[in-house]
């Protein structure tokens, strides 16, 4: 019964999403398309954090790696003079995106292999610092990565030629990604993830190789983050270090926190809500507020405030598992 309702709701919402472009101005369609891609980022983070309880604060590393991989594949001339100069053809967009995901997963594997044996908040600490390393590398090797400016991959490499087209492709990518991740967490694999989150020691005693499963979750998480990043580059045409940065990470955290950690649907809804909040209606609210009260306020301040409030009042519930984990 629950399953039937869920499928029905999903179908209705999808149908809604598909007809939206008919009724909304182009600028909004563009924005919502970007929101779909952001949802992939939020959901992929949830797979790691909500289900296995390992808090990865460096998720944006994978977003950025996926993004730059795809971008560089489309602009191989930037790779001249480096070890990768043999790459010379522009792959089709779909391949580019998948490669973005794969390279991100590869990086995820390396990082996971080294760091997943670290305890609770040490893992959080290392992963928190990683994005900064990648951002630095963007600045230092700016011939390749474009530095702070980022670089463009050319209009011809967009997901589609029209905004509406891009919207549909973004929706498709999101839909497929989320469904895959959903199936994965609902499978026996997902069950093992949750065992990890509830009580790592118990899981180990029950014979589950915790490091192996943490790594698998990490791979899934990083793969889809990479897909998201690559898709974003093909959507907005430019790659830039903002995709590595902390504000994006906090936006992802806020989305999953609001939606509910450990629930894929929650992250979808949370992601949709928060991304649109930041880029659309929150601005309106603030314009009105700042016209009346002269307070230093902008949309980031409000979002961080919301995150703080939620984190303080609702750290239990879905965090029950994390809490128990850390107190070891």
């Amino acid at each position: 019964m629950k399953a039937v309702i869920t499928v029905l709701v999903v179908l209705i919402l999808s149908a809604l999403a598909l007809v939206l472009p008919e009724y909304l101005p182009e600028a909004f369609v563009y924005l919502i398309g970007l929101t779909f891609l952001f949802i992939i980022l939020a959901v992929s983070w949830d797979v790691m954090v909500g289900y296995t309880g390992q808090v990865n604060l460096g998720h944006t590393v994978f977003v950025g790696v996926g993004a730059y991989t795809a971008a560089l594949l489309q602009t191989p001339e930037r790779l001249q003079g480096t070890v990768l100069e043999f790459i010379s053809t522009n792959p089709p967009i779909l391949l580019s995106i998948i490669l973005g995901g794969l390279i991100a997963a590869l990086i995820g594997f390396v990082i996971g292999f080294i760091t997943l044996r670290l305890k609770g908040y040490y893992f959080a600490l290392v992963t928190a610092v990683l994005p900064l390393v990648f951002i630095e590398s963007v600045y230092i090797w700016s011939d390749v990565f474009g530095g702070e400016e980022g670089f463009s991959i050319g209009l011809g490499n967009a997901l589609a030629d029209t905004t509406t087209g891009k919207y549909y492709v973004a929706f498709a990518i999101m839909f497929i990604s989320v469904v895959i991740m959903l199936l994965l967490v609902k499978s026996p694999l997902g069950l093992k993830f949750r065992a990890l989150r509830e009580d790592q020691e118990l899981a180990e005693a029950a014979g589950i190789d915790t490091v192996r499963y943490k790594l698998i979750a990490f791979l899934i998480s990083s793969f889809f983050a990479g897909i998201g990043g690559a898709a974003i580059v093909h959507y907005r045409i430019t790659a830039g270090p903002d995709l590595y940065n902390i504000p994006l990470m906090l936006l992802i955290i806020l989305s999953t926190v609001v939606g509910g950690l450990g629930t894929i649907y929650g992250s979808v809804i949370g992601g949709f809500f928060i991304y649109l909040a930041k880029n659309w209606w929150l601005r309106e609210v603030i314009d009105r507020i700042s016209k009346v009260y002269h307070v230093p306020i902008n949309d980031e301040i409000i979002l961080y405030a919301i995150l703080i409030v939620i984190a303080i009042f609702l750290p239990e519930g879905v965090y029950h598992g994390i809490k128990k984990k850390i107190q070891k």
Partner: protein, 432 residues
């Protein structure tokens, strides 16, 4: 817990509704802050896009609004009233492209000005190509006019109006050395460079090195510093040890030009500090460094210093700006934005006069904007003319990065002579 989440959800939805409800009319900032415009008067929308939490963005917004107000009080553009709409890029490419698109397609802006800085500009140029909106922009990366040159039909709607191409910094710096050597009787042979770790400086150095070589001037050290770098004592000491004749900063991103000046003064380094650093251009730089700026030589980006307006219109603009907002333009981008609105008006009017059917058509406007070439420039707050790649024409009689110096707590231009407002003074710690 569940209840708490529901509560938060309700609050967020309430906020959203509150936001949506106000969405349509209030957003546009009409220059008079009046009630919604009646349908009777025809409007024309001009957009300003930039990072609205920092001075570059707010200066553009204020300047554009000022220009619109002035033009509207004299009948608008071809009888249509200008409405200014604002987009905030937050220096983020995703947000910037989204905002640009919103201004262009939802607000129907016919011209958009702004675009700080280079990274965000890149992404917006692609959106501009799609929406075919006239984009009178700032930032200085040579990459932007290069795009116009490479793919004219796609990117022709872009013109840079705020300042010269980044490459001109090299020319101005080389001329500065000449000025010191040939006109001031100094003998600058060894240059110690401190520059941003960024591709924009790579381009400058690439052009500067051969120019200096011709003059027999050697770059004895090329130190790249990351963002926020603050321990310049190392570089200052090294410059002394290497016998440098001049310490030349090429800084914009590092953001710590004030620290450099402070330490230069503090350590009483007996070497001239002269180069291209964005920080000394700020009117409060002297105060911010507690006077350490005294004697520093710098380039005035965009060809204007509030203490030395190059044209009459610039002088007027400065005063009107101050009257309306209480201070002089907080950033040199203001001049670009102001000129942008005026030059757009002029181009459209010229098109109408020449009998064009649709003078607001972007392809038509591009043609008429292009008429402002080196042979026939137009004088606004600066003298504007464009090259084929839509970069600003550089020259003594056009826009160039005036060589300026902080003297007695104030900025003044020391070269070229047709705009100079003071004589070069050797800083005490250098001569003494």
């Amino acid at each position: 817990m569940k209840a708490g989440k529901v509560l938060v959800g309700v609050i967020l939805i309430a906020l959203m509704i509150a936001g949506c409800a106000q969405q349509e009319p209030e957003e546009a900032i009409t220059p008079e802050e009046a009630e919604p415009v009646e349908e009777v008067k025809e409007k024309i929308v001009i957009g300003v896009i930039g990072p609205m939490t920092i001075s570059e963005g707010t200066a553009e917004k204020r300047a554009a609004m000022l220009a619109a107000e002035e033009i509207n009080s004299e009948g608008g553009i071809l009888g249509k009233e200008i409405e200014v709409v604002v987009g905030d890029t937050k220096l983020d490419p995703s947000t910037a492209t989204s905002e640009f698109r919103r201004l262009a397609t939802e607000k129907n802006a016919v011209m958009i000005t702004g675009g700080f800085s280079s990274g965000v500009m890149n992404s917006m140029m692609d959106t501009m190509a799609e929406t075919k909106t006239i984009f009178l922009a700032d930032a200085s990366s040579p990459g932007h006019p290069a795009k116009v040159a490479e793919d004219y039909e796609t990117y022709k709607y872009w013109f840079r109006i705020s300042q010269n191409n980044g490459t001109t910094f090299a020319w101005d710096l080389a001329d500065m050395i000449d000025f010191f050597n040939n006109e001031q009787g100094m003998s600058i042979e060894k240059v110690y460079i401190i520059r941003d770790e960024h591709i924009w400086t790579d381009a400058v150095i690439a052009d500067l090195t051969p120019l200096l070589e011709e003059k027999g001037v050697e770059i004895i050290k090329d130190e790249k510093v990351p963002r926020g770098y603050a321990t310049y004592d190392v570089q200052l000491t090294e410059a002394q040890e290497l016998g440098a004749d001049i310490i030349m900063p090429i800084l914009a991103i590092a953001g710590t030009g004030d620290v450099l000046a402070k330490q230069w003064a503090e350590f009483e380094v007996p070497i001239l500090l002269a180069g291209h650093d964005l920080k000394p251009i700020d009117a409060e730089f002297y105060e911010d460094t507690n006077g350490a700026a005294e004697g520093e030589v710098f380039l005035a980006d965009g060809g204007v210093l509030s203490t030395a307006p190059p044209t009459e219109k610039a002088a007027e603009f400065l005063e009107t700006y101050r009257e309306k907002y209480g201070f002089y333009p907080e950033s040199h981008q203001a001049y670009g934005a102001y000129d942008a609105v005026y030059i757009y008006k002029m181009a459209v009017e010229a098109a109408a006069e020449a009998g064009e059917e649709d003078p607001f058509n972007p392809d038509v406007v591009v043609e008429y904007l292009e008429k402002y070439s080196p042979e026939s420039p137009v004088e606004l707050t600066r003298v504007i003319a464009w090259y084929d790649n839509h970069a600003l024409v550089w020259g003594d009689d056009f826009v160039r990065n005036w060589i300026s110096q902080w003297q007695d707590g104030e900025q003044c231009i020391i070269w070229p002579s047709n705009v100079a407002t003071c004589d070069f003074k050797v800083p005490e710690q250098v001569s003494g």
